[in-house]
């Protein structure tokens, strides 16, 4: 037995071979599976597994980018994006025991929060509070309540409020521009959010960031040509006048004729851009550019251009306007009284219908239409504002005599208030037209100006425009103390369903100042002023005067005073 025990039992040879084969087969199976997963990578291979893993743990998060700042020409902010925090919760993870603390921190009633939770009971996402300041949000987040998270966002604020509301425009909740310059300049202003990858745990909280996928690109800062001081002044004067005249609407625009920059542009009615509840489309319209009007007498200086260019007239040529009325195609055109024989200059000063008709009959309608087009009527300005209108300069085969006459009075064609200002800027800029802009131009920027009329003709038109605000003119109320100004009034019957309405007017004034160094052009439109002061000279010219007084003071124009030289000599004499 003992011998048998010590005698090793020789296992059968087949056992060894079977075992070896089995182990080898298992090894091959494992390696084969590995090869299948790693190298061949078919349906449930490495790619699939990686994806499944990432789906469970890796998340993409947005890196917020801010929208560019809009400032005025001096750097005062007009639209600012400020960081805010929106708080949200996953209703599945909120615990009942935390609700009271959460409701208190948010300033909700507990019942209200519970009611909200009820509604979102089967959801994974629920906003608790949107657009909170970072400090407010921190108070809630510091409680460390499970299931409450934050999301960084930006919100747009408009510090100047209603003063710049129509020009600057608005953005939507996604911070994309929907109106005004916010829309026009959206591509530059928009901040493109970036993306980053992070690992999350079971509760969805970020454990660590893996890396940036795309960089966030912040919006660029844009300086406008608007001067907020002038804008505020213009806004104040326009609102004041709107209340005084009881007008339905109004618009004003001031441009720097030398650089083509729009310095101020305001409208009535207004809205508060910081409150979305206040929004109404009527008040959001930038009437300076989106409303087309018949310009009325304000285009008479352009008839003067056509007359002077024709060579048959000078500003001193005499026109016989007696007996103060004339009949064209059966329609009676009349002046307030019989002016008798007056010069071309006086015809414009007095805005004489008879005189204008006689000049326009001599000039013909075609040269006049050509002048209108040259001055930019019927074509959008270079600003490119959303909703800007081009107006209409008629182009017809056959013209009745009355149509030719009214064309010279500014009826039968339409323009925007901005186009009127643009046309007058040609006179102020020695016959050159500079493309208008709402963006600040640098001092050495090359201006693509084009010559519209000869400098001598611009000079003569200015002489006549200055007389309009003089003793005999229709716009004595446009005068500004210490400066000489020039301009032209316009009073237009509004068009209703049945043609021109007898007792509804549009009062217009377009002016240039200061005349010794013409530079600032301001156009005023008052829609339906009430009472007896409905005309351009009574309703619009005083607004012009008050705005221009401020413009000249703020732009440091030197007052031109006849007395100043004597005073200076006197003071010099006293010193010696």
């Amino acid at each position: 037995m003992s011998r048998q025990r010590t005698q090793p039992v020789e296992p059968p040879a087949w056992r060894f071979w079977w075992l070896s084969l089995l182990l080898f087969a298992l090894g091959t199976l494992l390696i084969g599976r590995l090869v299948l997963i790693q190298a061949i990578d078919k349906d449930h291979g490495a790619g699939f597994l990686k994806k499944q893993g990432a789906m469970r743990a890796v998340r993409l998060a947005e890196i917020p980018a801010y929208r560019g700042l809009i400032t005025d020409r001096r750097g005062d902010p007009l639209a600012v994006s400020t960081p805010v925090v929106s708080l949200w919760a996953n209703p599945q993870h909120l615990r009942d025991s935390d609700l009271l603390a959460l409701a208190n921190a948010l300033g909700f009633a507990r019942d209200a929060l519970e009611a909200k939770l009820e509604r979102y009971a089967d959801k994974q996402f629920m906003y608790l509070a949107r657009s909170q300041t970072p400090d407010q949000a921190r108070r809630v987040l510091d409680l460390g309540i499970v299931g409450v998270r934050s999301q960084r966002e930006y919100r747009r604020f408009y510090p100047a409020g209603e003063v710049t509301s129509q020009v600057v425009g608005l953005t939507n909740t996604d911070e994309r521009g929907v109106s005004g310059l916010e829309k026009h300049l959206d591509a530059e202003l928009f901040g493109r959010p970036g993306k980053k990858r992070y690992l999350k745990d079971l509760h969805g909280d970020a454990i660590r960031d893996i890396g940036v996928v795309t960089e966030a690109r912040h919006g660029t800062e844009i300086a406008l040509s608007i001067d907020l001081r002038l804008q505020t002044l213009q806004h104040r004067e326009l609102q004041r006048a709107m209340i005084a005249t009881g007008a339905k609407a109004g618009a004003a625009v001031t441009i720097d004729a030398w650089t083509g920059e729009i310095l101020a542009m305001t409208n009535h009615p207004v809205f508060n851009p910081n409150s979305r509840a206040d929004f109404n489309a009527e008040a959001a319209r930038n009437r300076v550019m989106t409303d087309v009007i018949e310009p009325g007498s304000t285009v008479k200086p352009l008839l003067l251009v056509a007359a002077l260019e024709g060579g048959a007239f000078t500003i001193d040529t005499l026109i016989d306007t007696s007996p103060g009325r004339m009949r064209v195609n059966g329609k009676m055109l009349s002046d307030p009284r019989n002016y008798g024989e007056i010069s071309v200059s006086r015809v414009i000063e007095k805005s004489s219908q008879v005189g204008v008709t006689k000049i326009s009959q001599a000039v013909g309608h075609e040269p006049l239409l050509e002048v209108y087009r040259r001055f930019g009527f019927g074509v959008k300005s270079a600003v490119g504002f959303p909703g800007e209108r081009a107006g209409l300069v008629p182009n017809r085969e056959r013209w009745a005599d009355i149509e030719k006459a009214t064309l010279a009075f500014g009826y039968g064609l339409t323009t925007t208030p901005l186009q009127l200002a643009q046309a007058y800027a040609v006179f102020a800029n020695q016959g050159l037209r500079v493309p208008l802009t709402l963006l600040k131009r640098s001092a050495n920027e090359h201006l693509h100006s084009e010559r519209v009329i000869a400098a001598e003709i611009a000079e003569q038109v200015l002489t006549v425009l200055e007389r309009v605000t003089g003793e005999h003119g229709t716009a004595t109320r446009a005068r500004v103390a210490g400066f000489s100004v020039g301009g032209k009034t316009g009073t237009v019957h509004k068009v209703g369903a049945q043609g021109y309405i007898d007792d509804q007017y549009l009062a217009l004034f377009v002016g240039i100042a200061p005349m010794n160094e013409p530079r600032y052009v301001t156009a005023i439109m008052v829609d339906q002023p009430l009472g007896n002061d409905y005309g351009g000279g009574a309703a619009a010219a005083p607004i012009y005067a008050r705005i221009t007084e401020g413009v000249l003071r703020l732009r440091n124009a030197t007052p031109r005073m006849e007395v100043s030289r004597e005073m200076r000599l006197a003071s010099l004499g006293a010193e010696q």
């Binding site: 960084r152 907020l228 104040r236």
Partner: protein, 92 residues
């Protein structure tokens, strides 16, 4: 003879290179993570600074709004725009 001596030398050199590059990978991924962490901190700091800046900007423009300046100048300080008679132009 020559062959026998050279091959292990090349192998050793390659092995060393492999090790060095492996350590370099470890080092660079470590510093990548460290820098990314620093970047995150800076991002947060920038976010805070931006929040602060835009709040100050709004505050400044509220305090310096032309309406407010005009109101204070007129009502509190009794200022007014000089009339044209009160202006003397000094020509150099």
């Amino acid at each position: 003879m020559f062959r026998v001596q050279r091959e292990p030398a090349i192998a050793t050199a390659l092995l060393m290179l492999c090790l060095v590059s492996a350590i370099a990978v470890v080092y660079s991924s470590h510093s990548c993570r460290r820098f990314y962490g620093a970047l995150q901190d800076l991002e947060i700091e920038r976010w805070r600074a931006q929040a602060h800046y835009s709040r100050l900007l709004l505050e400044q423009s509220t305090l310096a709004s032309p309406h407010r300046v005009l109101g204070i100048a007129k009502d509190e300080l009794g200022m007014r725009a000089p009339s044209i008679d009160a202006i003397r132009v000094v020509v150099e």
